[in-house]
Symmetry: C2
Subunit: 245 residues, 2 copies
């Protein structure tokens, strides 16, 4: 696992010593949002901030699941591989998303930075002890797990029964919805990942992704802007395209 070894920065070696969390932009959206200010120090004591370069590994499928993460900046892709190299991306994470609910003793998938990424890293062992102390943290995690399961089922429906065009449009709408949840704009959304990543997420090839974008553009459903941004002029129209109705 050569390139991109995470650069660890203990929470206690900078001016942020007292609390990187106090200034944290994603605290409200993340699972730590349920803790009050006076409870934060205990979380802080088991947390390290980490940055990873583009394409750098974060976790590897099959390794002991010793750490959990919270994405504070950038985007992350999760994926599984078949022995012959076929790849399935199981999800993308953005600011505020949690990495590591879906695991037992070992990581069930690998994770890699899409662009430059910053994360909070928790020792799993220590976090589990904290859960005993703060039941509301555990409740929050259970709620997040529920949400992720619902998302996973949507993805299963998409992969099993939708056409290439429906897959692409569903994907764009999903990114748009999540952007709104992060208090970003619903319409010019940014695609930090490449065509190959989109293909491996939707069970397609890069060529099919590219062709489908071209068609959607030609028919006026989307506009491709500078810097990998996409404009969605008419969400309701797209909503229907996404479900074939």
């Amino acid at each position: 696992m050569g390139l991109g070894e995470p650069k660890k920065r203990p929470a206690s070696d900078t001016a942020e010593q007292t609390s990187p969390c106090a200034a944290c932009a994603v605290r409200g959206m993340a699972f730590c949002g349920v803790l009050d200010d006076h409870e934060m120090p205990q979380l802080l004591s088991i947390l390290q901030t980490v940055t990873v370069d583009p394409h750098g590994p974060i976790i590897d499928e099959g390794e002991p699941a010793d750490y959990l993460f919270n994405v504070t900046q950038g985007s992350v892709k999760l994926y599984k591989l078949l022995p012959d190299g076929r790849r399935q991306i199981t999800g993308f994470l953005f600011e505020g998303d949690f990495l590591g609910i879906a695991m037992n003793e070992r990581y069930a998938y690998s994770a890699e930075a899409v662009g430059q990424v910053s994360l909070c890293r928790f020792s799993r062992r220590k976090l589990e002890r904290l859960l005993d102390e703060f039941p509301k943290l555990e409740k929050r995690l259970l709620g997040m797990a529920s949400n992720e399961l619902v998302q996973a089922q949507d993805q299963i429906l998409l992969l099993g029964r939708k056409t290439a065009q429906e897959k692409i449009v569903s994907f764009l709408l999903n990114l748009s919805d999540r952007a709104v949840k992060r208090a970003a704009l619903a319409s010019p959304i940014s695609l930090p990942m490449g065509r190959a990543d989109i293909a491996d997420y939707l069970g397609l090839t890069t060529e099919t992704v590219s062709r489908t974008f071209t068609n959607l553009k030609r028919d006026g459903y989307i506009k491709l802007l500078q810097g990998g941004k996409v404009e969605l002029p008419n969400r309701e129209e797209l909503q229907e395209l996404a479900e074939g109705s």
Copy 2:
């Protein structure tokens, strides 16, 4: 939702009055297994046993998620529909499986009995109150949610990147593994669901499922027995078929 209205049987109207749980065959595997004997009465007080006829509905996608279930007998299919009728089965449940982790305020999918099914039914509201009282119950549910997420990712990999034959073989091996967990045999496994259900679970058509079974049979990888049972003579061989290695 006409046919198959669940037949409710309050826990207090039969000889099992004191405890249907005491004699419950699946208690060890189910989430209630974490409760001690002296804690069971509280669970019992919020529980009803229910039976559903073949093809009878259990829950409907989009309805308020007022009840959670534990399957005690038979098999259940979970599915989502697209507006034009395309169907994706998101999972099958067997004895001991829990129904209802993946939900928020409303059910994220529909559930239907495959054969004759028996279930324990819990009021969600009351169960949530019980969770506050028994943190170990909550911990257990979080663990189960983790497991389900791992399963969901496997299914995503299957749907996105596996061939028809790999899908079928993976499915058979999965059923076999789960049979073992229920203390059943690994090899002649039973397929309580029809070809159409298998197809909608694997993102295929019934014809493709049928043809693939025929091919696997011809090549000696499986044997189709009486009563919808399937023999898997060589699991290791199948394991390789399932991953294309």
